[in-house]
């Protein structure tokens, strides 16, 4: 899993950047005091206890009725307002939140996430009958396809289509999607591409010792190493079926062939996407999706203020409107919260993205200095700057609450002193004999981050540091901090795991072997004890047994090495039109899920 850093990097970095923008847009409220306690986040649906592997019966269709299903009727058009245009429709290329959520409607993967109305998530078989059976200590995974699966033209979906869907990921144009399965099958980094340089297009295929399809219903993966979390990896949108004679390579990006309840009717790149019912989709095979509305009309170019105003006004087609990723705009949060009419058409939920302030351990070698920094950082005030109670939730350790095995440990007492503990920090600094230590604090030059810089500087100076603020152009921010010799002491980064297992968090962020330009070990932590422990926990064949071990390791890293201090977990504040029902939160992707939405 260590090997998949690059691609995941991109996912996390861009998503985190997106989350940054969104959270930048989700500050709010104001103008008078009022009853704020009722305005805070609702029930926390993104906690580890909510995740489990589903059984074969969980994987059978049809999907459970959504909340308020009595009002549900067939028909109607759902309007979706999005800020950024989709980069891709090809499921093989999809990795960003907006498209991940969108592809649920027209693409099915081997497994999927079944979210119930209480926010409990089960990994279930989607195209497959269950979450797969492993042999060989987790090196071999076998999936069986369900009966009655059909393409949008009525032809059956077979294991040959799944094989094609996976093999085409080896082609050189498939650059933007996740690479877990390819790397597990054929080698680290981008070396897996050598196994099948042009994908399946020249008539070549992966040998059956790697990817086997003994019959029309069965597909067998032979991984190089054991991978206990394979059912999660096969839930990524690119591990699904693609029909060979509909595959126009790059052109597939504009006309994906649907296996889900909706199909592409009209796509104007950069402007709009219309999805209409796929009449050949069989609800009995699908444990996740519904097919209530006739149409989804997705349009791009709506800033958060624009979409919030329209959804709040609740007029015309906006009455049936929602947004996948646009959060409620900062300046309108309080307005939305104070509007009693929005009570049943909004939620605030924790996203899988966790923000930390990294300490560059090449420069800050004294652990007491790093500890002092960790105590001094004013997480509460930082949350205030990024948008307050609907934008972020205080984080106390290095795992996000969404990660399996998460425990709310708090080694630096952040819950008790969210705005930092300058006295303790000062004492530690004195002990280290580094009073007045100079800290180069880098930040992306946006108006929100400028303000964060103000509170961070203040807090650090109170603790006895001297701060040199370096603003970095926000367009080159990701590259600047990704350089190993970046010359900065501390800077913020965000990370979102692809699935709620800590093997997608701890190894890429804190394994000393992955320090490289553009890699995610931003703190440059290189502790042999940590590396050894990572290997040990990674080798545990059962995800559930490994989960508490990861938390222990993360806590050990935070208390002994202090490579970073957690600040907050991002929140998603969504609003939709009063004419829609069945909107629920998708805890894995971190956005509202359209697959069971209906028009009242």
């Amino acid at each position: 899993m260590r090997t998949t850093v690059n691609r995941r990097a991109r996912h996390a970095a861009v998503l985190a950047a997106g989350a940054l923008v969104l959270s930048a847009c989700s500050s709010g409220g104001g103008g008078g005091g009022g009853d704020d306690s009722s305005a805070g986040p609702g029930q926390d649906k993104n906690v580890s206890s909510n995740y489990s592997l589903g059984s074969a019966s969980d994987s059978a269709g049809p999907a459970p009725e959504p909340a308020g299903a009595k009002e549900a009727k067939k028909g109607g058009t759902v309007t979706v307002l999005q800020r950024d245009a989709f980069h891709h429709l090809d499921p093989g290329q999809i990795y960003f939140g907006d498209m991940l959520i969108s592809q649920l409607l027209y693409n099915r993967s081997l497994t999927g996430y079944k979210v119930d109305e209480n926010g409990k998530v089960k990994v279930v078989g989607d195209l497959a009958t269950d979450t797969g059976t492993s042999a060989d200590g987790g090196k071999t995974w076998k999936f069986t396809l369900k009966d009655g699966l059909k393409w949008q033209d009525g032809s059956p979906i077979t294991s040959q289509d799944v094989r094609w869907g996976i093999e085409r990921l080896y082609a050189s144009f498939e650059t933007d999607g996740p690479q877990y399965i390819q790397q597990w099958l054929s080698g680290d980094g981008t070396s897996y591409r050598k196994a099948l340089p042009d994908g399946p297009y020249d008539g070549k295929h992966l040998p059956s010792s790697v990817l086997d399809t003994p019959d029309d219903k069965t597909i067998v993966f032979h991984f190089l190493k054991p991978h206990a979390d394979a059912p999660f990896a096969t839930a990524m949108p690119n591990i699904g079926a693609v029909k060979a004679d509909k595959d126009g390579k790059q052109k597939y990006d504009n006309e994906p062939f649907s296996s889900g309840p909706y199909q592409v009717a009209d796509y104007k790149t950069g402007k709009s996407l219309t999805l209409v019912r796929n009449t050949n989709w069989n609800p009995k095979t699908d444990p996740i999706r519904h097919q209530y509305p006739d149409k989804f009309e997705i349009s791009f170019g709506h800033q958060a203020t624009d979409s919030t105003r329209r959804l709040l006004a609740d007029q015309g087609p906006d009455k049936y409107g929602m947004s996948y990723t646009n959060a409620v705009a900062p300046e309108m949060v309080q307005k939305v919260l104070n509007d009693a009419g929005t009570k049943n058409r909004r939620f605030v939920e924790i996203q899988p993205y966790l923000d930390v302030i990294n300490f560059n351990m090449d420069r800050l070698k004294d652990v007491r200095v790093r500890k002092a920094l960790a105590y001094a950082v004013p997480s509460g005030q930082i949350i205030q700057q990024i948008g307050g109670a609907t934008a972020g939730q205080l984080a106390t350790n290095l795992l996000s609450p969404s990660i399996d095995g998460y425990k709310p440990t708090d080694p630096f007492g952040k819950k008790a002193k969210p705005n930092g503990d300058p006295d303790k920090a000062r004492a530690l600094l004195k002990e280290a004999g580094k009073e007045g230590q100079e800290i180069v604090y880098a930040y992306a030059n946006t108006d929100v981050q400028q303000k964060v810089a103000v509170v961070v500087t203040q807090a650090l100076e109170r603790a006895g540091f001297k701060v040199q603020k370096k603003e970095v152009d926000s367009n080159v921010w990701d590259n600047s901090i990704g350089e190993v010799k970046n010359g900065f002491d501390i800077f913020r980064t965000g990370w979102g795991a692809d699935w709620p297992v800590a093997s997608t968090v701890v190894p890429p962020l804190y394994d000393g072997r992955v320090i490289a330009d553009g890699a995610q070990n931003y703190s440059h932590l290189n502790d042999p004890a940590v590396t050894k422990e990572i290997d040990r926990v990674n080798a545990i064949p059962d995800v559930k047994t490994a989960a508490p071990e990861w938390q222990k390791l993360a806590d050990k890293i935070l208390t002994d090495d202090v490579p970073a201090v957690p600040t907050y977990a991002n929140l998603q504040f969504s609003l939709w039109g009063s004419g829609l029902g069945g909107v629920k939160y998708h805890p894995v992707y971190g956005y509202p899920d359209p697959s069971s939405v209906f028009v009242k």
Partner: protein, 331 residues
């Protein structure tokens, strides 16, 4: 020198007719200006703004707050959980006269005073530099004419063709990188100097062009011819004959330029190449206010009102000054 044939002998090298009482044009101008009530009021307003700018530390001392302390973060009960003032009207109270800044909780009054200070200092310095450069280049080009005029003209064209904002964004980081070690914070004085320099470098061309045209038409007039015939040096002709006739456009242009530069500076701060937090800045206050207005309209009220009053007063002042100089243009 492209001097035309000498004209009739000049009567006197003086500038204006002074037949009856014998007032200088300057005296006449002052008399006319004093009679213009709007002009006088706006002059006072403008002076007031400059006083506020200069006296910001004094205001802060008397009032007992400073612009960088985050009162709302240091004390509980001032800002709510979304970072907005708990008290109505943006947190205006006996303690915070103009209210509190959302999210950071700083005092708006001192922020505004210091912000005006930053913005006016930068804009005034840039205006002064622009005017000096504009006059020098414009008069030189107009008076010398010929090849000098041609090359200066093309140089002005070149500079005018630069997209201003884009050049600012592109050049400022380069300047910072040149002068600041990568491990040190960019000092505020360097930011201010850089701002003044970029505003100056791309701000003087309009005035220069205008003055060139004026000089071109003036230098053919009889009194200039007369001065030439009497053997006056070019320097004397420029300072004694031409400049006094150019004061009107120069003054009007600079009174218009200053508020424009204040807004330009604000724009630069907004896109992140101007001064950054925690240096107070009028323009950034304005930009933030525009963001918060849905929930805290009071915050934009004072900086906005101040900006409107300032720009209107300065424009009225410019009008009055022109009227006073040149009563024929009076409406």
């Amino acid at each position: 020198m492209t001097s035309p044939s000498p004209a009739a002998p000049a009567t006197e090298p003086g500038t204006a007719p002074a037949e009856l009482i014998g007032r200088s044009p300057g005296q006449l101008m002052r008399r006319r200006f004093r009679r213009d009530r709007a002009g006088v009021v706006s002059a006072f307003v403008v002076v007031f703004f400059f006083l506020v700018a200069v006296g910001a530390p004094l205001i802060s001392m008397v009032y007992g707050k400073d612009p960088t302390t985050t009162y709302g973060l240091n004390e509980t009960g001032l800002l709510n959980q979304f970072g907005y003032p708990v008290q109505p009207n943006g947190g205006i109270s006996g303690r915070f006269w103009f209210g509190l800044e959302p999210t950071l909780g700083r005092d708006v009054l001192t922020q505004l005073a210091y912000g005006i200070r930053t913005s006016l200092l930068i804009a005034a310095a840039a205006t002064a530099l622009c005017v000096v450069t504009g006059v020098l280049v414009g008069v030189t080009a107009g008076y010398l004419g010929g090849r000098t005029d041609y090359f200066l003209g093309r140089f002005i064209d070149l500079l005018l063709a630069f997209p201003q904002q884009l050049s600012f964004v592109a050049f400022t980081p380069v300047v910072y990188a040149l002068f600041v070690s990568p491990e040190k914070e960019t000092p505020t004085y360097l930011r201010v100097l850089t701002l003044i320099l970029v505003l100056w470098a791309l701000g003087w061309m309009g005035l220069a062009r205008l003055l060139r045209g004026q000089v071109l038409s003036l230098r053919e007039r009889e009194f200039v011819e007369a001065a030439k015939v009497t053997g006056a040096s070019p320097w004397r002709i420029i300072t004694r004959e031409l400049l006094p006739n150019l004061w009107t456009p120069i003054l009007v242009q600079s009174t218009l330029m200053l508020p424009t530069l204040v807004t330009a500076e604000a724009g630069l701060s907004f896109i992140g190449v101007g001064v950054v937090e925690p240096t107070p800045d009028w323009g950034r206050m304005f930009a933030n206010g525009a963001k918060y207005y849905e929930s805290d309209v009071t915050y934009i009220f004072f900086p906005g009102l101040a900006m409107i009053i300032f720009v209107v007063a300065f424009n009225l002042l410019g009008d009055s000054v022109r009227d006073a100089f040149d009563p024929r243009t009076r409406r």
